[in-house]
Amino acid sequence: MTAAFRLTDSTLRDGSHAIKHQFTVDQVRAVVRGLDRAGVEVIEVAHGDGLGGSSFNYGFSGIDEMELVRAAVDEAENARIAVLLLPGIGVKDDLAQAADIGASVARIATHSTEADISHQHIALAKDLGMETVGFLMLSHMVAPSELLEQALLMESYGADAVYVVDSAGAMTVSDTMERITTLKNGLKCGVGLHAHNNLSLAVANSLAAIGEGIDQVDGCLTGLGAGAGNCPTEILVAACDKAGFETGINLTDLLDVATDVVRPLSPNQGVIDRDGLMLGYAGVYGSFLLHAKRAAEVYDVACDDILLELGRRGIVGGQEDMIIDVALELRQATDDGDRSK
């Protein structure tokens, strides 16, 4: 039986956020080995913010991501290795280097209204012979029809598939279905979903999308990822088995790598705490969470307040510097309030 959809595991990319981009070569090899054995076809490896993401703004990588990509390519027997790139953060040279090392899937991510900045990167990926995926981040912020217009741009640049990306984990099941069906009906290329779990809906949204005939879905082992985490790969596969969607993936093998390798990295992964929920509720980019927690501590302000203000200001992915700006503003407001008492 052929699989109902193709699963891309992003533990080694999105999961990188949860451990502040500190994956080691040994961890990468162990995760790739386990996923490969389980039958996962595509495994994404990069800094959490994509190639070139290692920075003050997003956190420095412990090990150069190209070394991690090289280890993943070397370890994988059947799976193909994917990389993510956000134009404005990474550059074409990074993509060419990753392709040279052996990455064969390129995922090019832009904010959900800015698809036209991906033209040269999608074109390059195609020239390099890579399978190319467009990634429309914070898809909840625009109406389905507007999302389709942006997806059509990516398709016209050569994308083989375009993803609805719920970077804030803010989409309900109906939000997801509307966007998936609109893209499925309007695009000739494939459609994918990348879900986050801030509202505890990642698996439900993914199952609903699979029911709509979606082509690709993302997961991360244990849900390791930005915000309250991603769609947990092993839970998605288990739920698909129950729902009668063929995955072609062995659940026991997945559970082995999830439990033995990934769980110890972040024992509380899967807990949706106050701040994680607030991201989904306020519609804030999930990768902001750990940066906001840090700023809250440094400037002695409430993390909730930072996240709500970021949502109010309409801050988008990439603007992690504004977390410091908001924290300083809140600190100043508190100090001014204290003085006027």
Binding site: F56, P87, G88, V91, V298, G314, G318, D321, I324, L328
Partner: protein, 301 residues
């Protein structure tokens, strides 16, 4: 007065026109484009500025009337125009990322390139942040500097969007070459919020132990004052802060970073005030043009 022309009638060229018309040292002879229907050319005609849609041909035919050409087209077009400007003995001020001549930032390194036949203005993010990196570098060693430049989606034209890689690469290399950091990295973000956001720039500089925080702050404040003399809407959004690491930068581990949060509002000449990214380029271009014009006049006499 130094006679000049603008090549390119898009957002940048048109905004530059308004600023050149206010200059006491530069005499704008024409706004030159290639599309007779462009909004920029029609606005110029309304303001009594000579216009042409003949492109490079206008420059060739009128070279004896002008000394300076401001290039506000695209990197590719400037590369094809530059040899002709040189043949005609015209000084080129390049507002594209072509970077044929030396990169200049007023107040940082302009005085070293006054006799260059072609100078480059880097990028809007570069003009907004390199003065701050240079201000920190005057007082401390900076093994690694990083900037994040965020502009309103509405202010980023098709040229900027198609060339986002050139923006990040050119800005990154100039943080080193002009700003003085050992390693530089630039990040560009577009924000689609409505109403549009003001241009924001954040500068992070890694600092080794032993720096003098007061001298660094003083140097930054002085620099902001200087930039304000040509970009009135350039300001510190908050007082600079020092944050404790350690941070494992590509230039080596540092104990501390300084974070400088900047905002740039424009003078609303062509696009509304949120488009400070337009103003910082065009205002810097006027400042550079005035200095190069004065140098040319000085050497001719």
């Amino acid at each position: 007065m130094t006679a000049c022309a603008i090549m390119g009638s898009g957002n940048i060229g048109t905004d530059l026109m308004y600023k050149l018309l206010r200059s006491n040292e530069l005499d704008l002879r024409a706004l030159v484009g290639i599309d007779p229907q462009s909004e920029g050319l029609s606005r110029a005609a309304d303001m009594g500025v000579d216009i042409s849609s003949d492109g490079l041909q206008w420059v060739t035919q009128n070279a004896d009337q002008i000394d300076l050409v401001f290039e506000a087209t695209s990197a590719g077009i400037h590369r094809s125009h530059a040899p002709e400007y040189e043949r005609l003995g015209l000084t080129a001020i390049d507002l594209t990322p072509a970077k044929i001549g030396p990169a200049v930032v007023p107040g940082v390194n302009l005085e070293r390139h006054l006799d260059a036949p072609n100078v480059n203005l880097i990028t809007c993010g570069g003009q907004a942040t390199i003065p701050i990196v240079a201000a920190v570098c005057r007082e401390a060693e900076v093994p690694y500097a990083e900037i994040v430049s965020t502009v309103a989606s509405d202010s980023a034209g098709p040229g900027t969007r198609a060339n986002i890689d050139e923006f990040t690469k050119t800005t990154s290399s100039c943080l080193e070459e002009v700003g003085g950091a050992t390693i530089g990295k630039a990040i560009m973000v577009l924000n689609p919020s409505q109403p549009p956001i003001m241009m924001r720039n954040t500068v992070y500089c890694g600092l080794q132990d032993g720096f003098d925080p007061e001298r660094i702050i003083e140097s930054i404040l002085q620099t902001v004052d200087e930039v304000q003399t040509y970009v009135p809407g350039y300001r510190l959004k908050r007082p600079p802060v020092f944050e404790e690491g350690p941070f494992a930068t590509p230039g080596g581990a540092v104990a501390t970073r300084i974070v400088v949060l900047l905002e740039v509002s424009g003078e609303a000449d062509f696009l509304p005030a949120y488009a400070g990214n337009l103003d910082i380029m065009t205002a810097a271009a006027v400042r550079v043009g005035e200095a190069l014009g004065a140098a040319r006049a000085g050497s001719a006499s």
